[in-house]
């Protein structure tokens, strides 16, 4: 299941070279990502900003669902909280945009953790229902008359797009892209270490052998709600960035569709995989547009066919498929004998 595991019996040498390749690849990708806004139009830059935003959110959801095995049909709620934190602070309190990001993250961390506490006792269907309930009710809470004064109710809040600081010769889109890219890199480095470290191993252990894990002295309860908190934090930060990029928040922006979209993203991208977050982000950003291009009559039908098609062709998600292809390729060079045993 874990897309990180290298195929059985791969010789160490090959593994090392693979690691080197991966590092080079990573460097290339990051450089390409930095150059991107200067070679494509502002509109495309804006689209890729959204891709980065979704990638952060998906990494967050993947920590919870992919690595810790807790399903969430309601992460749009945390995305919404993050977005509203940014919008309210910028519009109502005049706080600079960059200052809203950590606040959004912190608040979602707390909310997520608190939601995680009762969710502990829920599994499978029940957790799905609980999170789905969260996703469904969040928009209704946002337009509730008691908070309307802050959230702008059904009309939402319009916010101003930040210009590039220190007189940099950048369009707002370019600047926001680079700003988002920086945060993305930071979040992924953190996520990477988290997942590869003790915490990550604990999360996976809880997912695969809950009883054994607790027997090994892992504080299951703590880790599970922690997973919820961290996951929510990532999604909240993404929400804040998303709000700044879109320059508008309203209850209609954060319906169930968003939550479902996020879940779709991690599965299509590849469960329990870090690069999967990017593939998933590209999918949820661009595939609906493709579907719309193919058919005005029933765009959703096309989208659905894409979903099923992807699950049919690459059940392990895009990342899984790539790894499989990569492993097969490598297998051709290695002798079959190496794959004996086990």
């Amino acid at each position: 299941m874990s897309a990180i595991a290298t195929p059985v019996g791969t010789p160490l040498a090959a593994a090392a070279s693979a690691r080197r390749l991966r590092l080079i690849g990573l460097a290339v990708i990051i450089i390409a990502a930095c150059v991107l806004p200067f070679v494509v139009s502002n509109y495309r830059t804006f689209q890729f900003t959204l891709v980065l935003v979704y990638a952060i959110a998906l990494l967050g959801l993947n920590i919870l669902t992919g690595y810790n095995g807790q399903i969430s049909l309601g992460h749009g709620a945390f995305y919404a909280i993050g977005a509203y934190v940014a919008a309210i602070m910028m519009d109502r309190m005049g706080v600079p945009y960059w200052a809203t990001i950590p606040v959004a993250g912190a608040l979602c961390l707390v909310v997520g953790f608190l939601f995680g506490l009762p969710a502990l006792r829920l599994e499978g269907h029940y957790l799905a229902l609980a999170t789905f309930a969260l996703g469904v009710t969040m928009p209704q809470l946002l337009k509730n008359k008691y908070v309307e004064h802050w959230t702008g109710g059904v009309q939402g809040i319009v916010i101003v797009k930040p210009d590039a600081p220190f007189g940099l010769k950048l369009s707002p889109d370019q600047w926001l892209y680079l700003f988002t890219l920086a945060i993305t890199v930071v979040m992924f480095v953190i996520g990477w270490n988290l997942i590869r470290g003790r915490v990550g191993r604990a999360l996976v252990a809880i997912r695969d052998q809950p009883i054994a894990a607790s027997a090994m002295g892992i504080n299951t309860a703590l880790y599970k709600s922690l997973a919820f908190g961290v996951s929510a934090m990532y999604t909240g930060i993404a929400g804040a960035l998303g709000a700044i990029a879109i320059q508008f928040v309203a209850p209609d922006s954060f319906g169930v569709g968003l939550s479902i979209g996020l879940l779709t993203g991690i599965v299509i991208g590849g469960l329990a995989s870090i690069p999967g977050a990017f593939f998933g982000a590209l999918f949820i950003q661009f595939i609906p547009n493709v579907a719309d291009q193919i058919s005005k009559a029933a765009p959703w039908a096309i989208y659905g066919i894409f979903l099923i098609g992807f699950m049919f062709l690459m059940p392990m998600g895009i990342n899984g498929a790539i790894r499989l292809g990569w492993a097969r390729m490598r297998h051709r060079h290695s002798k079959p004998a190496q794959r004996e045993g086990g």
Partner: protein, 244 residues
């Protein structure tokens, strides 16, 4: 083929059976036979391929080779169809339907049978063998003790009115007393109902006492076979399996 002269036409005839899991081959050409009405046992160390053999026989894993049951090739058939020929498999780990009641488990054992009246009698029959199950008939099977679940597994197999019973480690994890009881009942079943039994056992001594014919398997091949009586006397077997 090294069949005893006594055996003219075997009920089960296995020739050059190969099988494994994924890329790992476990059986490297097993051949053996089982006479109608006999109790035959497969002996061998862990990983020798005993369980794999039983799985291959009823197509839980795809075998290569030739398996003939009562004159029909079954090596290409699906598990469901093999069961319908009268081969009942008591799998390793008992395969209890833990969420269902004892009685429902037994009903499932007779799933492929159409003769309702006879099925009704068979309930009494197995409850006769295992009175403890009768007491627990409405209890969720998952809550039964290990011994009771093993009895349930055997009973479930009997509900098929099988011609051949495949038993995988029936003594596993049971108290000696219960094992004794169980083996007694197996013998009774074999003698009264002429149910042939293919028994896979760790406990070679008990297996050889029960069985009339035995095969010794090592790393996926038959290395020795004969009547239990002869096998028991084989020095190698005594040294490594019977420990005296």
């Amino acid at each position: 083929m090294n069949f005893p002269a006594a055996m003219n036409k075997p009920l089960l005839d296995v020739v050059d059976l190969h099988a494994g899991y994924g890329l790992t081959r476990v059986l490297h050409g097993i051949s053996f036979g089982l006479a109608e009405g006999s109790i035959t046992t497969l002996l061998g160390a862990n990983g020798a391929g005993k369980t794999t053999t039983l799985r291959a026989l009823c197509a839980m894993i795809r075998p290569q080779g030739q398996v003939t049951f009562d004159g029909q090739r079954i090596d290409a058939r699906a598990t469901e169809d093999i069961v319908r020929l009268g081969i009942a498999h008591v799998p390793e780990g008992r395969g209890t339907f833990v969420h269902l009641s004892t009685e429902e488990n037994l009903r499932l054992g007779a799933y492929v049978r159409k003769d309702r009246a006879a099925v009704a009698q068979d309930f009494d029959r197995v409850y006769g063998y295992f009175p403890r199950l009768a007491e627990r008939r409405h209890q969720q099977a998952g809550t039964l003790s290990g011994g009771e679940q093993q009895m349930l597994a055997v009973s479930r197999a009997l509900m098929l009115r099988p011609r051949l019973l495949l038993l995988d480690e029936p003594s596993f994890g049971l108290a000696p007393l219960i094992v004794g009881e169980l083996f007694g009942i197996l013998r009774a079943i074999n003698q009264r109902e002429r149910v042939s039994i293919l028994l896979v056992e760790q406990n070679a001594a008990m297996a050889l006492d029960l069985a009339d014919h035995a095969y010794l398997i090592e790393t996926g091949r038959v290395v020795l076979s004969g009547t239990s009586h002869d096998v028991k006397r084989n020095d190698a077997v005594r040294a490594s399996y019977l420990g005296y």
